[in-house]
Amino acid sequence: MTGQTEPVVYVVDDDKSIRKSLARLIGSTGLAVETFGSAREYLASEPVDRPGCLVLDLKMPGLTGLELQEELTARHRAIPIIFITGQGSISSSVKAMKAGAIDFLEKPFDDTTLLQAINQAIEKDLQNRQRSSEVGAIKKRVEDLTPREREVFTLVVTGLLNKQIAYQLGITEKTVKVHRARIMQKMEATSLAHLVHLAETIELNP
């Protein structure tokens, strides 16, 4: 979490006038803007640890907007996307939204609509980032658990009683209790409910 906190808007459009005008419009609100002439150009850029969003033209020569969206997901470079398009078909917009797009704007669009969408996207990105840092911290705590503790942890958060856990693992209930106390301590959990929340946050799978 050492990146800049100043958000940035990436504009990807093959049409230079659109690119330029969008940069101007977005820039007029004080947001930082970076423009790319093609999806590949954007993919080639170094990922920056900074909140932001992507204003992406749907129809471009080479890699299209939708393809770029897929590619970013595949590379774990998730960033909120606002699609813009000349003439959007229903099928493509549905596809984009399903893949997590913030909005789907048809050119020409109103500045407020765009700027709202951008704000919303940046907000979303901030949330995502915060969440992912939380997850990182919890995961780190889980790593401190011994393998037996991790087993017990997994069973505890599924709602099993101590004696059930003991039976399942073939240990005494008393030992389970000891493990539980150590887990609570290591995970910095205040209650069982808190422990379950932590497990859900990291999407722990039994």
Binding site: S21, R24, T29, Q87, K107, P108, F109
Partner: protein, 775 residues
């Protein structure tokens, strides 16, 4: 006293005349009819050169010339001598001893012969019968010197008769009297008596004496009676009155009691004629044929042959002393057919190997060669006839086949669907078929003799001439060349031309055979296809226009978006405190750029649209409707739309561009179909109606049973880019409207009272001289 010189040279007259001519005729026939046979039938008439007999042969005959018996024997001997090729002149002397049996005569002959022949040289002396032998032996040395003596015809020979003459030999006939009597009894089993008829001369009595001892051998089987010494007439009477069971055996008989002398043949004939009963004999066969039935006889010919053989041996140098006397035992059963018939003796009763003379010869036997030849000829001719018949039948069959094939060919040639003709090396038509006449409309007289180039249309004539000239330098063939041909009525037909040249042995073209196939229909069909293809390309152009519009929309939308973005940004810069004028200016500059860019796109579009040519022609709207309906038939059917046409029969022509009006109709029809996609397939009805409206314009109504148009759509449907269809661009109707308006007509839409919508358009009627409206 008769002497005769006989030339032994073979003479032709020996061959019977008739026979000779037959042979000659036959040869002629052979020569004419089949030389092959003639070759094989060549007669061996080879004549050997005569052997060199320096000395003649002397023949001494006991009797006179005219004594049939001896004449026969003598002739046979001469004949046989000739066969043996003993040549030279034979001297014959007749002793006439029958007429002059006394010693006086013999002495006179002795004197005479000595006088005539004493000192003459003879190669051989032949003595015929007793008197001659007796005389020759007595006077051998004296008259004939050392000429060897050969006797012949002796039947009563005794060695004493030669009186030890060493230079004598001869042939003795050994008759068979017993055999003769046997055969007589066999042929006439009921015989009671045999009358032995002889004269009472020494010869006659000698023959009786010789016979008598044999008779005892027959014992009681038959009685024998010797004839009395009677005058000949009495003997005749005896014969005339002879009882039925009597047979006569005739021995030597030359003289009757009264000294009347008879020739053996003559007396035999006389006896036979008078006799009631058969007469047999056993001596020489010379008597056969003159009246005797036959007997076991000594064949004169055999005697003569043996005599000649002996003569030859001696003449060729064999010492006569060493040549033994030949005794002929081969007495032979010989009969006279006429007598057998007279006494009804069947041939089958005769002993085996009997010779029968005077047997009536069949034509075949008489003319065996001719008959064989004739049969051969007939057989050959039959073969020839069969062969000819076969050939004729074959020929007829061929002729029929030829006729049939000719008829077929004629039919094929004349009635072929193609035009056949031949031209000469100058291009003049020499023949043509009926199809040529039918298609071109000229009569055959008008066609034959004219140059082929006259029949071509001007467009093809030059090409035809060129191709014709090339025929002589190139392959001599033209394949599937297309030409235009002018018919008599002036109309044109398209023909496909095939040409092949006929050449002589030197390879020079002699005539040219050509085929015209009428391809007018095919060309028409091809034209139609070509036209339809052109029409389809227009349709495709429409589709292209749709795609073009899409891209135009994008092209305009982009600068519009940029302009909006810039304008909004500019507004923001203005609201800054202080306003950011620098940014504002830049934004405005970009706005100008983007606007220009949009203008360029519009300009480009306009110039593109301008390129579409505008044609004004007199058109029948019904044709256009039918045409479009044909083009869209599949599409309409695909959408389960039932289409009905309701076209005014007497619509006047409109003025306009066929393709553009087609596009309008196509648009309306496809729109109508689209409007009905939601409707029940049973109720998808499309009607196209043409009529004249109140103002005299032509009106067309395209009526569907679809969803109809809501009020908003009804007012905006002709606006560009207005569409009710999810995939529609909204250009079809606006373009259609502009087309109709360019045609000075009107296009509008109305909802039907019963559901669905109707699109109407009107077009002004075409008027002559109204061409300036085109733009």
């Amino acid at each position: 006293m008769r002497s005769l010189m006989v030339n032994f040279l073979p003479v032709r007259s020996n061959i019977p005349q008739g026979n000779y001519y037959s042979v000659k005729r036959l040869a002629f026939i052979l020569a004419v009819l089949f030389p092959l046979l003639c070759l094989s039938a060549a007669r061996g008439s080879e004549e050997h050169p005569l052997s060199q007999a320096d000395k003649p042969i002397f023949i001494l005959n006991s009797h006179h010339y005219g004594n049939s018996w001896l004449d026969t024997e003598q002739a046979a001997i001469i004949d046989e001598l000739r066969k043996e090729k003993l040549a030279g002149l034979a001297t014959i002397e007749y002793m006439d001893s029958g007429s002059y049996p006394d010693g006086e005569h013999l002495r006179e002959l002795e004197v005479l012969f000595l006088k005539k022949y004493g000192g003459k040289k003879f190669s051989l002396l032949i003595a015929l019968h007793d008197s001659a032998l007796d005389f020759a032996v007595k006077n051998h040395k004296k008259i004939f010197g050392d000429a060897p003596l050969v006797f012949s015809g002796q039947s009563n020979f005794k060695t004493s008769m030669l009186a030890d003459d060493k230079r004598a030999t001869g042939v003795v006939n050994s008759a068979d009297p017993a055999g003769t009597i046997e055969v007589m009894l066999r042929l006439h089993p009921k015989t009671g008596e045999i009358l032995i008829l002889h004269d009472y001369t020494s010869a006659g009595l000698a023959s009786r004496q010789k016979l008598e001892p044999l008779l005892a051998g027959f014992g009681s089987r038959v009685r024998f009676r010797f004839s009395d010494n009677l005058p000949v007439n009495d003997t005749y009477q005896v014969l005339e009155t002879a009882p039925d069971d009597t047979l006569v055996l005739l021995l030597d008989y030359t003289t009757d009691r009264e000294g009347k002398e008879f020739d053996a043949a003559e007396i035999t004939g006389n006896f036979s004629r008078r006799s009631r009963v058969p007469i047999y004999s056993y001596a020489s066969s010379a008597r056969l044929g003159y009246g005797i039935v036959g007997g076991k006889l000594v064949n004169v010919r055999t005697t003569a042959r043996e005599t000649a053989k002996l003569a030859k041996r001696i003449v060729q140098g064999e010492a006569v002393e060493k040549v033994p006397i030949v005794v002929i035992n081969a007495a032979q059963y010989m009969f006279d057919y006429r007598q057998l018939e007279r006494f009804q003796i069947p041939l089958s009763a005769l002993p085996l190997n009997s010779a029968v003379i005077n047997r009536p010869v069949s034509f075949y036997d008489a003319n065996r060669n001719i008959v064989l030849m004739a049969w051969t000829i007939i057989g050959f001719l039959l073969l020839v006839i069969l062969a000819l018949i076969f050939i004729i039948v074959q020929r007829r069959r061929l002729t029929l086949a030829l006729q049939e094939s000719k008829a077929k060919y004629y039919d094929l040639y004349e009635n072929a669907p193609d035009m056949y003709y031949s031209i000469d090396v100058n291009g003049i038509i020499t023949e043509c078929n009926e199809t040529f006449v039918q298609v071109t409309g000229y009569s055959k007289e008008e066609i034959i003799g004219r140059p082929i180039f006259d029949f071509y249309h001007e467009d093809s004539a030059e090409e035809a001439r060129k191709a014709f000239r090339q025929l002589f330098t190139a392959s001599g063939e033209i394949r599937n060349a297309e030409r235009k041909v002018k018919r008599k009525d002036g109309s044109l037909i398209g023909v496909s031309l095939n040409v092949s040249a006929e050449r002589d042995k030197e390879g020079r073209i002699t005539s040219i055979r050509s085929i015209w196939r009428d391809v007018t229909e095919r060309q028409r069909a091809e034209d139609k296809i070509r036209q339809q293809r052109a029409e389809l390309s227009h349709v495709r152009r429409l589709v292209t226009i749709g795609e073009f519009a899409t891209s135009i929309a994008h092209e305009i939308n982009q600068p519009l978006t940029a302009i909006l973005n810039n304008a909004q940004a500019a507004a923001r810069f203005l609201s800054f405190d202080p306003p950011d004028l620098g940014e504002l200016r830049e934004a405005l500059e970009d706005i100008i750029e983007d606007d220009k860019r949009a203008g360029a796109v519009v300009h480009h579009l306009r110039s593109f649209l301008k390129r579409q040519e505008f044609e004004r022609k007199s058109l029948n709207i019904n044709n256009i409707i039918e045409d479009v309906v044909t083009l869209l038939n599949c599409e309409v059917a695909d959408k389960n739309v039932s289409l009905t046409l309701d076209l005014a029969a007497d619509t006047q022509a409109v003025r306009g561009d066929f393709v553009e009006l087609q596009q309008v109709l196509m648009n309306l029809i496809l729109n109508a179909c689209d409007a009905m996609t939601e409707a029940d397939p049973q109720r998808r009805r499309l009607n196209i109606r043409s009529s004249a409206d109140a103002e005299g314009n032509i009106a067309v109504a395209v009526r569907d049973s679809g969803t109809g148009l809501d009020s908003k759509a009804l007012s905006r449907v002709f606006e560009p880019f207005f569409t009710t269809k999810p995939e529609g661009l909204g250009v079809g109707l606006s373009i259609s409207k502009s087309i109709i308006e360019a045609h000075e007509g009107r296009l509008w839409a109305e909802n039907n009272s019963g559901g669905g919508a109707t699109f109407y358009f009107t077009l002004p009627v075409y008027r002559e001289g109204h061409h300036d409206g085109a733009n």
